[in-house]
Amino acid sequence: MKKSKPATLTRRKLITRAGALGGILLTGCDSDLYTPPKIRGGLMGVADVLTMSTQRFLMAGQAPVQEHDISEITKNFPVWNQSNPDDDEYQRLRQGGFTEWCLPVEGLVNRPVTLSLEDLKRFPQQTQITSHICEQGWSAIAQWTGAPLLQVLEAAGGVKPEARYVVIDAYGGWYEGYDMFDVVHPQTILAYGMNGKDLPQGNGAPVRLRVERHCGYKQLKFIKSIQVVSSMEGFGRGTGGLNSDFDFHWYAGA
Protein backbone atom coordinates (compact mmCIF):
# COMPACT_ATOMS: atom_id res chain seq x y z
CA MET A 1 0.00 0.00 0.00
CA LYS A 2 0.96 3.64 -0.44
CA LYS A 3 3.38 5.14 2.01
CA SER A 4 3.76 8.69 0.65
CA LYS A 5 2.88 11.59 2.91
CA PRO A 6 -0.52 13.22 2.48
CA ALA A 7 -0.33 16.30 0.35
CA THR A 8 -1.85 18.56 2.99
CA LEU A 9 0.33 17.43 5.86
CA THR A 10 4.07 17.77 6.19
CA ARG A 11 5.98 16.38 9.11
CA ARG A 12 6.80 19.86 10.34
CA LYS A 13 3.13 20.87 10.49
CA LEU A 14 2.29 17.65 12.27
CA ILE A 15 4.78 18.26 15.03
CA THR A 16 3.74 21.86 15.69
CA ARG A 17 0.06 20.95 15.75
CA ALA A 18 0.46 17.88 17.92
CA GLY A 19 1.75 20.27 20.57
CA ALA A 20 -1.35 22.43 20.29
CA LEU A 21 -3.69 19.47 20.68
CA GLY A 22 -1.75 18.16 23.65
CA GLY A 23 -2.08 21.54 25.35
CA ILE A 24 -5.86 21.45 25.07
CA LEU A 25 -5.97 18.08 26.73
CA LEU A 26 -3.99 19.34 29.68
CA THR A 27 -5.98 22.51 30.23
CA GLY A 28 -9.64 22.04 29.43
CA CYS A 29 -10.63 18.45 29.89
CA ASP A 30 -9.42 17.19 33.24
CA SER A 31 -12.81 16.60 34.87
CA ASP A 32 -14.31 15.34 31.59
CA LEU A 33 -11.76 12.59 31.71
CA TYR A 34 -13.67 10.88 34.48
CA THR A 35 -17.32 11.57 33.67
CA PRO A 36 -19.65 10.90 30.74
CA PRO A 37 -21.23 13.84 28.84
CA LYS A 38 -24.45 13.45 30.79
CA ILE A 39 -24.48 11.74 34.19
CA ARG A 40 -27.55 9.60 34.78
CA GLY A 41 -29.69 10.20 37.81
CA GLY A 42 -29.57 8.26 41.05
CA LEU A 43 -27.30 5.41 42.03
CA MET A 44 -26.91 4.32 38.41
CA GLY A 45 -25.07 7.56 37.66
CA VAL A 46 -22.84 7.05 40.70
CA ALA A 47 -21.93 3.55 39.51
CA ASP A 48 -21.29 4.86 35.95
CA VAL A 49 -18.89 7.51 37.19
CA LEU A 50 -17.14 5.09 39.57
CA THR A 51 -16.58 2.61 36.74
CA MET A 52 -15.42 5.20 34.25
CA SER A 53 -13.18 7.16 36.60
CA THR A 54 -11.53 4.05 38.05
CA GLN A 55 -10.73 2.67 34.62
CA ARG A 56 -9.62 6.02 33.23
CA PHE A 57 -7.32 6.45 36.21
CA LEU A 58 -5.79 3.03 35.50
CA MET A 59 -5.41 3.87 31.79
CA ALA A 60 -3.98 7.37 32.32
CA GLY A 61 -0.67 6.34 30.76
CA GLN A 62 -2.48 5.65 27.45
CA ALA A 63 -0.91 2.19 27.22
CA PRO A 64 -1.72 0.31 24.02
CA VAL A 65 -4.12 -2.62 24.23
CA GLN A 66 -3.00 -6.21 23.99
CA GLU A 67 -2.17 -7.35 20.48
CA HIS A 68 -2.44 -10.91 19.26
CA ASP A 69 -0.39 -13.08 16.97
CA ILE A 70 -1.36 -13.16 13.30
CA SER A 71 -2.16 -16.87 13.71
CA GLU A 72 -4.85 -16.01 16.26
CA ILE A 73 -6.98 -14.02 13.81
CA THR A 74 -10.56 -15.32 13.75
CA LYS A 75 -11.28 -16.94 10.39
CA ASN A 76 -15.01 -16.21 10.20
CA PHE A 77 -15.34 -12.94 12.11
CA PRO A 78 -19.04 -12.39 12.93
CA VAL A 79 -21.14 -9.82 11.13
CA TRP A 80 -23.32 -8.35 13.86
CA ASN A 81 -26.26 -5.94 13.74
CA GLN A 82 -26.35 -3.66 10.69
CA SER A 83 -24.56 -5.14 7.66
CA ASN A 84 -25.85 -2.96 4.80
CA PRO A 85 -27.46 0.37 5.77
CA ASP A 86 -30.79 1.02 4.15
CA ASP A 87 -29.79 4.48 2.98
CA ASP A 88 -30.03 5.78 -0.61
CA GLU A 89 -26.78 7.70 -0.52
CA TYR A 90 -24.94 4.78 1.01
CA GLN A 91 -26.27 2.39 -1.62
CA ARG A 92 -25.21 4.77 -4.39
CA LEU A 93 -21.68 4.99 -2.96
CA ARG A 94 -21.50 1.25 -2.46
CA GLN A 95 -22.44 0.55 -6.07
CA GLY A 96 -19.66 2.92 -7.12
CA GLY A 97 -17.12 0.96 -5.11
CA PHE A 98 -16.88 3.86 -2.61
CA THR A 99 -14.71 5.89 -5.01
CA GLU A 100 -17.07 8.83 -4.40
CA TRP A 101 -17.18 8.33 -0.64
CA CYS A 102 -15.77 11.30 1.21
CA LEU A 103 -15.35 12.25 4.82
CA PRO A 104 -15.99 15.82 5.98
CA VAL A 105 -13.97 16.78 9.07
CA GLU A 106 -15.53 19.92 10.46
CA GLY A 107 -16.81 21.72 13.54
CA LEU A 108 -14.24 23.04 16.00
CA VAL A 109 -11.21 22.39 13.80
CA ASN A 110 -8.97 25.16 12.50
CA ARG A 111 -9.23 24.22 8.83
CA PRO A 112 -12.18 21.94 7.91
CA VAL A 113 -11.30 19.41 5.23
CA THR A 114 -13.00 16.68 3.26
CA LEU A 115 -11.00 13.53 2.75
CA SER A 116 -11.48 10.82 0.14
CA LEU A 117 -10.73 7.17 0.81
CA GLU A 118 -7.46 7.62 -1.08
CA ASP A 119 -6.56 10.62 1.11
CA LEU A 120 -7.19 8.53 4.20
CA LYS A 121 -4.92 5.77 2.92
CA ARG A 122 -2.06 8.27 2.52
CA PHE A 123 -1.89 8.92 6.28
CA PRO A 124 0.75 7.01 8.24
CA GLN A 125 -0.72 3.54 8.55
CA GLN A 126 -1.53 2.04 11.90
CA THR A 127 -2.11 -1.73 11.94
CA GLN A 128 -3.16 -3.68 15.04
CA ILE A 129 -4.38 -7.21 15.79
CA THR A 130 -6.86 -6.84 18.62
CA SER A 131 -9.88 -8.39 20.32
CA HIS A 132 -13.28 -7.06 19.36
CA ILE A 133 -15.42 -7.45 22.47
CA CYS A 134 -19.20 -7.28 22.22
CA GLU A 135 -21.17 -6.24 25.30
CA GLN A 136 -23.41 -9.26 24.69
CA GLY A 137 -20.54 -11.61 25.43
CA TRP A 138 -18.90 -12.69 22.21
CA SER A 139 -15.41 -11.69 21.14
CA ALA A 140 -13.21 -12.28 18.11
CA ILE A 141 -9.77 -11.26 16.90
CA ALA A 142 -8.97 -9.33 13.73
CA GLN A 143 -6.25 -7.21 12.20
CA TRP A 144 -7.26 -3.62 11.52
CA THR A 145 -5.48 -1.08 9.34
CA GLY A 146 -6.29 2.60 9.22
CA ALA A 147 -5.41 6.22 9.80
CA PRO A 148 -5.01 7.44 13.39
CA LEU A 149 -7.96 9.71 14.23
CA LEU A 150 -5.62 12.17 15.93
CA GLN A 151 -3.65 12.65 12.72
CA VAL A 152 -6.82 13.16 10.71
CA LEU A 153 -7.73 15.98 13.10
CA GLU A 154 -4.23 17.40 12.73
CA ALA A 155 -4.74 17.43 8.97
CA ALA A 156 -7.78 19.61 9.62
CA GLY A 157 -5.52 22.13 11.34
CA GLY A 158 -5.93 20.69 14.82
CA VAL A 159 -8.84 21.33 17.17
CA LYS A 160 -9.84 24.61 18.79
CA PRO A 161 -9.35 25.16 22.53
CA GLU A 162 -13.03 24.62 23.39
CA ALA A 163 -13.18 21.23 21.63
CA ARG A 164 -14.26 18.41 23.92
CA TYR A 165 -15.89 15.66 21.87
CA VAL A 166 -15.50 14.17 18.41
CA VAL A 167 -18.89 13.18 17.03
CA ILE A 168 -18.92 10.56 14.30
CA ASP A 169 -22.01 10.08 12.14
CA ALA A 170 -22.64 6.84 10.29
CA TYR A 171 -24.84 5.79 7.41
CA GLY A 172 -27.90 4.10 8.80
CA GLY A 173 -28.53 6.79 11.42
CA TRP A 174 -26.03 5.89 14.15
CA TYR A 175 -23.88 8.53 15.79
CA GLU A 176 -21.49 8.40 18.69
CA GLY A 177 -19.42 10.92 20.64
CA TYR A 178 -15.86 10.26 21.83
CA ASP A 179 -13.88 12.35 24.28
CA MET A 180 -10.32 13.48 23.72
CA PHE A 181 -8.92 10.77 26.03
CA ASP A 182 -9.95 8.18 23.45
CA VAL A 183 -9.18 10.36 20.43
CA VAL A 184 -5.48 10.74 21.28
CA HIS A 185 -4.90 7.02 21.87
CA PRO A 186 -2.49 5.74 19.20
CA GLN A 187 -4.75 2.75 18.43
CA THR A 188 -7.84 4.87 17.79
CA ILE A 189 -8.03 4.65 14.01
CA LEU A 190 -10.35 5.15 11.08
CA ALA A 191 -10.00 1.61 9.76
CA TYR A 192 -10.31 0.92 6.05
CA GLY A 193 -8.57 -2.47 6.10
CA MET A 194 -9.31 -5.73 7.86
CA ASN A 195 -7.02 -8.77 7.85
CA GLY A 196 -4.94 -7.25 5.03
CA LYS A 197 -7.90 -6.59 2.71
CA ASP A 198 -10.38 -3.76 2.20
CA LEU A 199 -12.90 -3.55 5.04
CA PRO A 200 -15.73 -5.97 4.15
CA GLN A 201 -19.30 -4.75 3.72
CA GLY A 202 -20.63 -6.48 6.84
CA ASN A 203 -17.87 -5.05 9.01
CA GLY A 204 -18.56 -1.45 8.09
CA ALA A 205 -17.24 -0.62 4.59
CA PRO A 206 -15.68 1.58 3.54
CA VAL A 207 -14.46 2.94 6.91
CA ARG A 208 -15.22 2.10 10.53
CA LEU A 209 -13.83 3.35 13.81
CA ARG A 210 -11.57 1.24 16.02
CA VAL A 211 -11.58 2.69 19.50
CA GLU A 212 -9.93 -0.11 21.45
CA ARG A 213 -10.58 -0.29 25.23
CA HIS A 214 -14.34 -0.12 24.49
CA CYS A 215 -17.09 -2.63 23.75
CA GLY A 216 -18.24 -3.32 20.21
CA TYR A 217 -21.07 -0.81 20.27
CA LYS A 218 -18.59 2.09 20.27
CA GLN A 219 -16.80 0.73 17.15
CA LEU A 220 -18.97 2.67 14.71
CA LYS A 221 -19.35 1.19 11.22
CA PHE A 222 -20.16 2.86 7.84
CA ILE A 223 -18.65 6.22 8.82
CA LYS A 224 -20.19 9.26 7.14
CA SER A 225 -18.77 12.39 8.77
CA ILE A 226 -16.72 13.74 11.65
CA GLN A 227 -17.36 16.91 13.62
CA VAL A 228 -15.61 18.31 16.65
CA VAL A 229 -17.86 19.89 19.29
CA SER A 230 -17.70 21.46 22.73
CA SER A 231 -20.79 19.71 24.08
CA MET A 232 -23.02 16.76 23.28
CA GLU A 233 -26.14 18.85 23.92
CA GLY A 234 -28.32 18.92 20.84
CA PHE A 235 -27.32 15.46 19.66
CA GLY A 236 -30.22 13.08 20.28
CA ARG A 237 -31.01 13.08 24.00
CA GLY A 238 -27.66 14.68 24.77
CA THR A 239 -26.24 11.56 26.41
CA GLY A 240 -23.28 11.44 24.02
CA GLY A 241 -24.37 8.81 21.50
CA LEU A 242 -27.21 6.77 20.10
CA ASN A 243 -26.32 3.76 22.28
CA SER A 244 -26.49 5.84 25.45
CA ASP A 245 -29.70 7.46 24.15
CA PHE A 246 -30.98 3.87 24.31
CA ASP A 247 -29.81 3.58 27.98
CA PHE A 248 -26.51 1.80 27.39
CA HIS A 249 -23.67 3.29 29.40
CA TRP A 250 -21.88 5.91 27.27
CA TYR A 251 -18.55 4.72 28.64
CA ALA A 252 -18.08 1.16 27.37
CA GLY A 253 -14.80 0.06 28.95
CA ALA A 254 -16.50 -2.42 31.29
Binding site: L43, M44, V46, A47, D48, L50, T51, Q55, L58, M59, A63, P64, V65, Q66, H68, E72, T74, N76, P78, T130, S131, I133, C134, E135, Q136, G137, W138, S139, A140, I141, E212, R213, H214, C215, F246, D247, F248, H249, A252, G253, A254
Partner: protein
Protein backbone atom coordinates in the same frame (compact mmCIF):
# COMPACT_ATOMS: atom_id res chain seq x y z
CA UNK B 1 -30.28 -11.33 32.00
CA UNK B 2 -26.90 -10.67 30.39
CA UNK B 3 -26.23 -14.34 29.84
CA UNK B 4 -29.62 -14.78 28.17
CA UNK B 5 -28.56 -12.28 25.50
CA UNK B 6 -25.77 -14.58 24.44
CA UNK B 7 -26.57 -18.02 25.84
CA UNK B 8 -23.41 -19.85 24.88
CA UNK B 9 -20.12 -20.35 26.72
CA UNK B 10 -16.70 -20.85 25.17
CA UNK B 11 -13.16 -21.67 26.14
CA UNK B 12 -10.08 -19.62 25.16
CA UNK B 13 -9.56 -16.19 23.67
CA UNK B 14 -12.44 -15.96 21.21
CA UNK B 15 -16.04 -17.10 21.07
CA UNK B 16 -19.07 -16.25 18.96
CA UNK B 17 -22.14 -17.85 17.45
CA UNK B 18 -20.91 -20.77 15.35
CA UNK B 19 -17.64 -21.10 17.29
CA UNK B 20 -17.23 -24.43 19.17
CA UNK B 21 -18.97 -23.91 22.52
CA UNK B 22 -18.60 -25.65 25.87
CA UNK B 23 -22.23 -24.88 26.73
CA UNK B 24 -25.20 -23.92 24.59
CA UNK B 25 -28.57 -23.10 26.12
CA UNK B 26 -30.21 -24.13 22.85
CA UNK B 27 -29.05 -27.70 23.56
CA UNK B 28 -31.20 -27.53 26.69
CA UNK B 29 -34.43 -26.58 24.97
CA UNK B 30 -34.34 -22.78 25.03
CA UNK B 31 -33.72 -21.14 21.67
CA UNK B 32 -31.81 -17.88 21.13
CA UNK B 33 -35.00 -15.91 20.51
CA UNK B 34 -36.75 -17.34 23.55
CA UNK B 35 -33.76 -16.55 25.75
CA UNK B 36 -33.49 -13.07 24.26
CA UNK B 37 -37.12 -12.32 25.09
CA UNK B 38 -36.51 -13.08 28.78
CA UNK B 39 -34.13 -10.22 29.47
CA UNK B 40 -33.25 -6.61 28.74
CA UNK B 41 -29.54 -6.38 28.17
CA UNK B 42 -29.23 -2.64 28.57
CA UNK B 43 -30.63 -2.62 32.07
CA UNK B 44 -29.08 -6.01 32.73
CA UNK B 45 -25.67 -4.45 32.22
CA UNK B 46 -26.50 -1.29 34.14
CA UNK B 47 -27.70 -3.16 37.21
CA UNK B 48 -24.83 -5.63 36.92
CA UNK B 49 -22.25 -2.88 37.38
CA UNK B 50 -24.30 -1.02 39.98
CA UNK B 51 -24.45 -4.14 42.15
CA UNK B 52 -20.83 -4.97 41.39
CA UNK B 53 -19.98 -1.69 43.14
CA UNK B 54 -22.34 -2.50 46.01
CA UNK B 55 -20.53 -5.85 46.27
CA UNK B 56 -17.13 -4.12 46.29
CA UNK B 57 -18.01 -1.55 48.99
CA UNK B 58 -19.88 -4.09 51.08
CA UNK B 59 -16.90 -6.41 50.74
CA UNK B 60 -14.41 -3.75 51.79
CA UNK B 61 -16.54 -2.83 54.83
CA UNK B 62 -17.09 -6.45 55.85
CA UNK B 63 -13.49 -7.60 55.40
CA UNK B 64 -12.12 -4.43 56.96
CA UNK B 65 -14.30 -4.66 60.07
CA UNK B 66 -13.67 -8.35 60.62
CA UNK B 67 -9.93 -8.17 60.11
CA UNK B 68 -9.75 -5.17 62.42
CA UNK B 69 -11.77 -6.98 65.08
CA UNK B 70 -9.72 -10.15 64.43
CA UNK B 71 -12.98 -12.06 64.07
CA UNK B 72 -11.66 -14.21 61.25
CA UNK B 73 -8.94 -15.55 63.55
CA UNK B 74 -11.26 -16.06 66.51
CA UNK B 75 -14.29 -17.53 64.77
CA UNK B 76 -13.83 -18.43 61.12
CA UNK B 77 -10.42 -19.85 60.31
CA UNK B 78 -10.63 -23.59 61.07
CA UNK B 79 -8.18 -24.91 63.66
CA UNK B 80 -5.73 -27.68 62.86
CA UNK B 81 -7.92 -30.03 64.85
CA UNK B 82 -10.99 -29.14 62.78
CA UNK B 83 -9.16 -29.79 59.51
CA UNK B 84 -8.46 -33.43 60.46
CA UNK B 85 -10.32 -35.88 58.22
CA UNK B 86 -11.99 -37.59 61.22
CA UNK B 87 -13.43 -34.32 62.43
CA UNK B 88 -14.71 -33.33 59.00
CA UNK B 89 -16.24 -36.80 58.52
CA UNK B 90 -18.21 -36.48 61.76
CA UNK B 91 -19.45 -33.06 60.74
CA UNK B 92 -20.52 -34.32 57.30
CA UNK B 93 -22.48 -37.16 58.92
CA UNK B 94 -24.11 -34.73 61.35
CA UNK B 95 -25.18 -32.57 58.44
CA UNK B 96 -26.50 -35.46 56.38
CA UNK B 97 -28.67 -36.56 59.29
CA UNK B 98 -29.74 -32.97 59.94
CA UNK B 99 -28.44 -33.43 63.47
CA UNK B 100 -28.07 -29.98 64.97
CA UNK B 101 -26.01 -29.24 67.96
CA UNK B 102 -27.78 -28.73 71.27
CA UNK B 103 -24.77 -27.92 73.31
CA UNK B 104 -22.43 -25.02 73.83
CA UNK B 105 -20.71 -25.82 70.49
CA UNK B 106 -23.77 -24.48 68.63
CA UNK B 107 -22.58 -20.99 69.54
CA UNK B 108 -19.58 -21.27 67.20
CA UNK B 109 -19.22 -22.28 63.58
CA UNK B 110 -18.62 -25.98 62.90
CA UNK B 111 -15.76 -27.11 60.66
CA UNK B 112 -17.83 -27.41 57.47
CA UNK B 113 -19.23 -23.94 57.98
CA UNK B 114 -15.76 -22.54 58.55
CA UNK B 115 -14.34 -24.22 55.46
CA UNK B 116 -17.18 -23.15 53.18
CA UNK B 117 -17.16 -19.56 54.50
CA UNK B 118 -13.42 -19.29 53.93
CA UNK B 119 -13.79 -20.65 50.39
CA UNK B 120 -16.63 -18.24 49.58
CA UNK B 121 -14.92 -15.20 51.08
CA UNK B 122 -11.35 -15.73 50.03
CA UNK B 123 -11.63 -17.85 46.88
CA UNK B 124 -14.99 -17.39 45.13
CA UNK B 125 -15.52 -13.67 45.83
CA UNK B 126 -12.06 -12.56 44.61
CA UNK B 127 -12.35 -14.96 41.68
CA UNK B 128 -15.69 -13.38 40.78
CA UNK B 129 -14.10 -9.93 40.62
CA UNK B 130 -10.99 -10.98 38.72
CA UNK B 131 -12.87 -13.05 36.14
CA UNK B 132 -15.15 -10.03 35.67
CA UNK B 133 -12.18 -7.69 35.14
CA UNK B 134 -10.68 -10.12 32.62
CA UNK B 135 -13.76 -9.69 30.41
CA UNK B 136 -13.62 -5.89 30.28
CA UNK B 137 -12.29 -4.22 27.13
CA UNK B 138 -10.43 -1.66 29.27
CA UNK B 139 -8.36 -4.47 30.77
CA UNK B 140 -6.85 -5.26 27.36
CA UNK B 141 -4.93 -2.04 28.09
CA UNK B 142 -4.86 -2.03 31.92
CA UNK B 143 -3.71 -5.61 32.47
CA UNK B 144 -3.45 -8.02 29.54
CA UNK B 145 -1.57 -10.31 31.97
CA UNK B 146 -4.79 -10.90 33.91
CA UNK B 147 -6.60 -11.99 30.73
CA UNK B 148 -3.73 -14.32 29.84
CA UNK B 149 -3.77 -15.73 33.36
CA UNK B 150 -7.29 -16.97 32.74
CA UNK B 151 -6.28 -18.24 29.29
CA UNK B 152 -8.41 -15.74 27.41
CA UNK B 153 -11.53 -13.68 28.05
CA UNK B 154 -13.97 -16.38 26.96
CA UNK B 155 -12.53 -18.76 29.54
CA UNK B 156 -12.88 -15.98 32.12
CA UNK B 157 -16.51 -15.52 31.08
CA UNK B 158 -17.27 -19.23 31.39
CA UNK B 159 -15.60 -19.43 34.82
CA UNK B 160 -17.47 -16.27 35.89
CA UNK B 161 -20.74 -18.11 35.22
CA UNK B 162 -19.53 -21.31 36.92
CA UNK B 163 -18.51 -19.25 39.94
CA UNK B 164 -21.95 -17.63 40.00
CA UNK B 165 -23.58 -21.06 40.06
CA UNK B 166 -21.33 -22.15 42.95
CA UNK B 167 -22.34 -19.04 44.91
CA UNK B 168 -26.03 -19.68 44.23
CA UNK B 169 -25.52 -23.25 45.44
CA UNK B 170 -23.86 -21.91 48.58
CA UNK B 171 -26.78 -19.55 49.27
CA UNK B 172 -29.34 -22.34 48.82
CA UNK B 173 -27.52 -24.74 51.15
CA UNK B 174 -26.89 -21.92 53.61
CA UNK B 175 -30.60 -21.05 53.74
CA UNK B 176 -31.63 -24.69 54.14
CA UNK B 177 -29.21 -25.04 57.05
CA UNK B 178 -30.54 -21.89 58.67
CA UNK B 179 -34.03 -23.37 58.67
CA UNK B 180 -32.79 -26.72 59.91
CA UNK B 181 -31.03 -24.99 62.77
CA UNK B 182 -34.03 -22.77 63.63
CA UNK B 183 -34.44 -19.64 61.58
CA UNK B 184 -35.84 -17.25 64.18
CA UNK B 185 -33.19 -18.11 66.72
CA UNK B 186 -30.45 -17.63 64.09
CA UNK B 187 -31.72 -14.30 62.83
CA UNK B 188 -32.18 -12.94 66.36
CA UNK B 189 -28.63 -13.95 67.17
CA UNK B 190 -27.33 -12.19 64.04
CA UNK B 191 -28.98 -8.95 65.05
CA UNK B 192 -28.86 -8.95 68.84
CA UNK B 193 -26.08 -11.41 69.51
CA UNK B 194 -28.32 -13.47 71.79
CA UNK B 195 -28.43 -17.11 70.75
CA UNK B 196 -30.66 -19.41 72.82
CA UNK B 197 -29.58 -23.01 73.20
CA UNK B 198 -32.44 -25.56 73.04
CA UNK B 199 -32.03 -26.28 76.76
CA UNK B 200 -32.62 -22.63 77.55
CA UNK B 201 -35.64 -22.46 75.26
CA UNK B 202 -37.32 -25.32 77.16
CA UNK B 203 -37.15 -23.47 80.44
Amino acid sequence: MIFLQFPELYWGKVGFQGHPAVFRLSDWGLSWDEADALGDRRWGRNYHYLFAWVFVFNGIAYLGWNFWQKKFYKKMFPSREELRLEHIKTDILNHLHFRTSNTESARSYNSLQKISYVIVLFVLFPFMLLSGFAQMPAFTAISPELIDLFGGRQTARTLHVVCTLLLVLFVIIHLIEVFVAGAMNQIRSMITGKYALPSERDE
